[in-house]
């Protein structure tokens, strides 16, 4: 417990081993072999699933659920425990949630890709039902009655007049055989207490009272503070540094050089000079006084305007075929009418409200780190490599995250803290500034897209070519990567239209900056191009947008997708009937049929399938005499399969509408001579209250399909739906983001 007690406010998110009292019934998520706290094999079933989440019943009757996924605002620290608590059937006030350390025994902890519910809904309900069955077994043995005659509910097992609390039964339940999952009984929908209903979010009280502990708030005794001047161009190095003025700043203790990454950057530190001080302010002040002579490296020639021209030129050339149906070339050759368009989207920064931060202590060949990370195992790996120890010798405590959006999957900042602690001999807290965050991000990629269609007499496409060129994410791990296979699975090879000749292509691009993944990833630029282009075709045919979309979507069917979708398609086939249903739902709820666009006031539509969730949106915009855009209303309908926590599904889609508005209207990172030209919210604006949609109505389409992704799929529809609404209001076609680049009046 000692390591935990040192940080008082965070202590409740302790080590697993310190969480449970002696005599507790501790269960791992089923279908794996593991030892419980008593040394017994808790899941002799074996199988292919990895251990993930732990559930324990204390002798006190308290239930502890270990959250192994990171909380960055999705509500996952509440939603997954709800699932286990429901099947266990226990009062919510008895449930205590402990945040797991990074540890491979949990399987993937990378809270990313909108997968937490999808991957862990079943393991947690099985864990809850297993615990309940074992408690019943213990009670039945105690009372010498058949288990089938016992009932368990609300923290008690009962039989006739006999009644025992889960807590009383915990230690004997631990000796019960673990039932096989196929023998378990699960609740029906009508029996759910929490699933599909909800509870207040776990951290609500902390968050409204300033007591929630984020990475920026983490502390270790005796720690010093560091602010790091990174090379102004990615790949640069310190030639020489003069810290004489820095050391005169009150509170500054020393400066330390951090070496640049080796090989491809991955998550390694960028290098630079760290100023170590008694407090954050002194470190920041000292940093301003550094005089550093840089070797700027090979990326100093990067200019985003010329890079854009290169991408655009590449998008005009035939490139690698990613999906090919029918014969597009032949269809174009014989076509009476074709339409083509080019689209462009810029680099984007994540700009989570909490800039990256970590505190680490290197001691006796081991590291303890507290940080806001989506990926604690990557922290272990990255820190270990940076300081030359084994990953298992890195203890990574996960704080709350002040937003993540994908940036905090990449723990370069945690490695910096560990490297500095090793050099300084004390715990070091690394605090990134907003400027650091905006200028040294793993950026959402820039893309150029080329679209071409041939249409029949009704305006419906008979041939369709789509070409996408962008620096790929995989370049982060292998600098030679120029094509984006991952990105092809995100709104590109899965375009579900009923078009007999359809080709998707991907052109090569070499990244000039660190590329990463941001909320909904390549779906952002792919949905922008596809859904904008479809609107252009509908406009050319003078057809109603929703009617046209459904026509192009075609008859209800399962869309044949390529081998890259094979794994997910088993459980999550792309079903156009479900897409049709969300389109019809949003049209109905938004009153689409009765809405008529007029000058300065328009309605736009877009639909998109991503993270296995079906989404359609109608956006209302107003464009005033100065060309200023406001968004009075967004309607967004979704089918994400079974919904565990409706309020958090709503909040994620409300938030996605705002996040998508920022992308559509204002987000843009540019570079000159390798230096990022934006630095803070003054020149990298994000949507504020008056710019955000005034009201967003989220319509959840009820479904019993397996649960799909929620955190990301609300984002991609926003940019095209807003753009299409602006076209309806002004006649101005938006072909590049952000929209503020296009003069609207």
């Amino acid at each position: 417990m000692s390591a935990v007690k040192r940080i008082d406010p965070v202590s409740r998110r302790g080590f697993l081993g310190t969480v449970f009292s002696a005599g507790a019934l501790v269960l791992g998520a089923p279908l794996f072999v593991a030892k419980d706290a008593l040394g017994a094999e808790v899941n002799p079933g074996g199988g292919t699933w990895f251990p993930s989440v732990y559930l324990g019943v204390q002798p006190s009757g308290d239930v502890i659920i270990v959250a192994h996924r990171s909380e960055m605002g999705t509500g996952i620290r509440t939603a997954l425990p709800m699932v286990a608590a429901d099947e266990l059937d226990v009062e919510w006030s008895k449930v205590h949630i402990e945040q797991a350390l990074g540890d491979k025994k949990y399987g993937s902890q990378n809270t990313d890709g909108s997968t937490s519910i999808r991957s862990f809904y079943d393991p947690l309900r099985i864990a809850g039902a297993t615990a309940k069955a074992m408690l019943i077994g213990a009670a039945a043995a105690k009372w010498k009655v058949p288990a089938t005659q016992c009932k368990a509910a609300n923290g008690y097992v009962t039989h006739g007049n006999s009644k025992a609390s889960y807590g009383e039964l915990a230690s004997s339940a631990a000796q019960q055989p673990v039932p096989k999952p196929e023998t378990l009984t699960f609740k029906t929908r009508a029996e759910y207490r929490y699933i599909g209903k909800g509870v207040p979010i776990t951290d609500l009280d902390e968050l409204v009272s300033g007591r929630g502990i984020f990475g920026q708030d983490a502390k270790m005794p005796g720690m010093v503070y560091a602010s790091i001047e990174h090379p102004p161009v990615v790949g640069g190095k310190v030639k020489s540094a003069d810290d004489s003025e820095t050391l005169k700043v009150r509170g500054v203790k020393q400066t330390v050089e951090i070496e640049r990454y080796t090989g491809t950057y991955g998550f390694q530190p960028l290098g630079g000079v760290a100023v170590i001080a008694d407090n954050t302010w002194a470190a920041m002040q000292g940093r301003k006084k550094l005089k550093i002579d840089w070797d700027l490296g090979p990326n100093a020639t990067y200019n985003s305007e010329s890079f854009r021209a290169e991408l655009t030129a590449a998008a005009r050339k035939p490139s690698k075929v990613a999906r090919d149906v029918g014969d597009v070339d032949k269809a174009f050759a014989g076509a009476a009418k074709t339409h083509e368009a080019e689209y462009y989207t810029p680099l984007l920064a994540h700009a989570a409200m909490e800039p990256p931060a970590a505190v680490a202590e290197f001691k006796n060949g081991k590291v303890e780190v507290w940080t806001c990370t989506q990926n604690p195992q990557a922290v272990q790996d990255t820190v270990a490599a940076a300081v030359g120890i084994k990953p298992e010798d890195v203890a990574c405590h996960v704080t709350l995250l002040g937003g993540g959006f994908g940036r905090k999957s990449k723990p370069d900042y945690a490695a910096e803290a560990a490297v500095l602690s090793k050099k300084v001999g004390k715990p070091v807290k690394v605090v990134w500034t907003r400027e650091d965050d905006v200028q040294f991000d793993f950026y959402h990629s820039t893309a150029a897209l080329y679209m071409k269609a041939a249409v029949d007499a009704t305006g419906k496409p008979i041939a369709w070519l789509q070409r996408s060129v962008f620096p790929p994410i995989f370049s982060t791990f292998d600098s030679k990567t120029t094509y984006g296979d991952l990105e092809m699975t995100m709104g590109w090879n899965d375009v579900p239209f009923d078009i007999p000749n359809h080709r998707a292509e991907n052109g090569p691009a070499t990244p000039p900056v660190r590329i990463g993944w941001m909320r909904s990833v390549a779906n952002v630029y792919h949905a922008f191009a596809v859904q904008s282009f479809l609107d252009e075709l509908a406009a050319a045919a003078n057809r109603d947008r929703v009617e046209y979309y459904l026509d192009v979507l075609g008859p209800n069917r399962i869309v044949e997708l390529g081998p890259s979708f094979a794994e997910t398609a088993k459980q999550y086939p792309l079903d156009t009937a479900r897409l049709r249903r969300v389109v019809e739902t949003v049209a109905d709820k938004a009153g689409w049929a009765s809405k008529k666009s007029s000058p300065g006031h328009g309605y736009g539509f877009a639909a998109h399938w991503s993270f296995l969730t079906y989404v359609a949106a109608v956006v209302e915009v107003k464009v005033d005499a100065e060309g200023k855009v406001s968004i009075p209303r967004v309607d967004i309908a979704l089918d994400t399969g079974k919904v565990i926590y409706p309020d958090r599904v709503r909040s994620q889609f409300e938030g996605a509408a705002v996040f998508g508005t920022s992308i559509a209207m204002m987000g843009e990172i540019t570079a000159k001579d390798g230096r990022i030209q934006q630095s803070n919210f003054n020149n990298y604006p994000v949507a504020r209250m008056p710019e955000a949609p005034f009201e967003t109505h989220v319509h959840i389409v009820e479904s019993d399909a397996p649960p799909a992704g929620v955190g990301e799929p609300g984002v991609p529809v926003m940019a095209p739906a807003i753009s299409n609404a602006i076209f309806a209001a002004t006649g101005k076609r938006i072909r590049e983001l952000p929209i503020r680049r296009t003069k609207l009046v």
Binding site: M72, G73, G75, P200, I201, D203, L204, D205, L207, V208, S209, G210, R211, G212, I213, F214, Q216, D217, K219, R250, G251, N279, T280, W281, M284, Q285, A351, A352, M353, E354, P355, L400, L401, G402, G403, G404, F405, V431, T433, R434, D647, S651, Q652, E654, G655, A656, V658, F659, N680, F681, N682, V686, A687, R688, M689, P690, A692, P693, E695, T696
Partner: protein
């Protein structure tokens, strides 16, 4: 030596008088409810009350706070029972929660000035507070609940 009151407690500070209140509160007093978001007064995450009015603590030096009554989120209410905090809980407002201290402090200051704010008043008062998760709609609704005006 600079003297000031923080959440009703008399404090003395003999460090750099130019240090922003943000860092004094967070690093020296351990009051980490006040958040660092931009350091330039652009995002509102660090909002505190100086003699009852909302101020950005990253733009308020300790010497400028001398002799003043400072309130942080930790001192806004006993048992987190300020009407704004209660309304926030009722609406399950926060997502990641990082900006919410600042949002709540800003909203509390607004309601002190304008107990029955219009949508326009809310936009004006809250436009300096960024929420990247996009909880604006619920923030607006919660302010109306706290104010007892119709949503």
């Amino acid at each position: 030596m600079i003297e000031l009151r923080v959440n009703g407690v008399a404090r003395k500070f003999d460090g750099d008088p130019d240090m922003p209140m943000l860092w004094y509160l967070r690093d020296e007093l351990g009051l980490t409810g006040t958040k660092f978001g931009c350091g330039m007064g652009l995002c509102g995450a660090c909002t505190i009350h100086v003699d009852g009015s909302a101020a950005r603590s990253c733009q308020t030096s300790v010497q400028n706070a001398a002799g003043k009554n400072i309130t942080t989120i930790e001192g806004l209410s006993k048992n987190h029972a300020h009407p704004v905090q209660k309304a926030w809980k009722e609406g399950n407002v926060p997502q990641c929660g990082y900006c919410q201290s600042g949002q709540i402090m800003q909203a509390a200051a607004l309601l002190k000035q304008k107990p029955k704010p219009t949508d326009h008043d809310i936009d004006e008062a809250m436009s300096g507070n960024i929420c990247r998760c996009g909880t604006y709609q619920r923030i607006r609704a919660a302010i109306k609940v706290a104010a007892g005006v119709k949503a």
